[in-house]
């Protein structure tokens, strides 16, 4: 287990019909396509958990990956939030807090009357706030 600080390298918001609404990589050397695959693979875990009638929106660690950890969160309206972190010193409660706050930001972005539900979220304010949230977790 490496002792490097935990860092969120990627955050994604996926809509009801499994369409991506928002995906941002926050690592310097990130290969965005690879994260698309990682998150696509995570969707299967969401399907399984929905069939298992889970009441807690935070699904925890979705599946182990080579050098990443993938955490999931599903809302009552079936929107999915996925956070990918590096293999650092992670505490699930921190990730849970991050995803809960990210959910609040997504609801705010959706409430924008100029936003068309189902389309990718293109609000600059949303991006700034999400980035601040991610940085707050990474900072020691």
């Amino acid at each position: 287990v490496s002792m490097a600080p935990c860092q969120v390298v990627c955050l994604a918001v996926i809509g009801r019909k499994n369409n991506p609404l928002f995906l941002r990589c926050y690592a310097e050397d990130a290969d965005e396509l690879r994260f698309h695959y990682v998150i696509h693979g995570a969707l299967d875990v969401f399907e399984e958990s929905s069939r298992a009638s889970q009441t807690d929106p935070f699904l925890g660690l979705l599946y182990p990956s080579v050098d990443h950890r993938v955490y999931g969160y599903v809302t009552t309206s079936n929107m999915k939030l996925v956070a990918v972190t590096n293999d650092g010193d992670t505490r699930e409660s921190d990730i849970r807090g991050l995803l809960v706050r990210a959910h609040g930001l997504v609801v705010d972005a959706v409430s924008n009357p100029f936003y068309v539900p189902g389309q990718p979220i293109s609000s600059a304010g949303f991006e700034t706030r999400i980035r601040k949230l991610v940085n707050a977790l990474s900072a020691p």
């Binding site: 009638s53 599903v74 809302t75 009552t76 309206s77 079936n78 609040g104 609801v107 959706v110 009357p113």
Partner: protein, 199 residues
């Protein structure tokens, strides 16, 4: 958390009145005023449902969603719950609200108030009813339910909303019965099992 900002409720009432007048004045042949108001309601309903469902556990079935609409959703909008919910368990739900806010403020039809056609209450009231229809439809859409919502104004200010949810083809075939949630257990195929060779 930032302090929640509040607006007087009468502002919403006045806004609704002005929207209806504006829509009637600019009514185009292909886009009746009621349909536009319903579309506004749909948009608002989607976003409000998203916001109100943040702290809720997932819904178990459609009836659960309807109860949410009748209780929390309606309370948030009109500070009261829906008075009556009926269903035939085949995808049709009827919501009864005995005192819809905006309809209760419309003056009863007067003798000759027809200075301009738009002042006639009997034509205006149904347009007001389109907005809650859109709200319900938007709320259901957020949870993945495609429905058709219509309103009946039998006696003002009471209003009845009829929600038709198309059933899945499997359930529609078996009339009145719920689709079996489990596949009936099948007998294990006996013939294929290799019998252990007798020693």
């Amino acid at each position: 958390m930032a302090a929640s900002r509040e607006v007087a409720e009468s502002c919403l009432d006045l806004l609704a009145i002005e929207i209806v007048h504006h829509l009637i004045a600019n009514e185009a042949a292909h886009e009746p005023a009621g349909a536009k108001f319903e579309a506004i309601g749909f948009s608002v309903g989607q976003r409000l449902a998203e916001r109100l469902s943040t702290t809720r556990p997932p819904f178990t079935d459609t009836l659960d969603v309807m109860k949410f609409v009748c209780k929390e959703f309606w309370y948030e909008l009109y500070r009261k719950q829906v008075d009556n919910l009926r269903t035939n368990h085949r995808g049709v739900y009827v919501l009864q609200d005995n005192r819809v806010r905006w309809l209760s403020r419309i003056a009863p039809p007067a003798g000759d108030r027809s200075a301009s056609g738009s002042c006639d209450p009997s034509t205006i009231a149904p347009i007001y009813a389109h907005f809650p229809c859109g709200l319900i439809r938007g709320c259901l859409a957020t949870f993945g339910i495609d429905a058709v919502v219509s309103a009946e104004l039998s006696s003002q200010p009471a209003c009845q909303f009829t929600i038709k949810i198309p059933l899945l083809p499997a359930t529609a075939a078996t009339t009145g019965q719920r689709a079996p949630s489990q596949v009936p257990p099948q007998a294990p195929p006996q013939g294929r099992i290799m019998q252990p060779s007798p020693q």
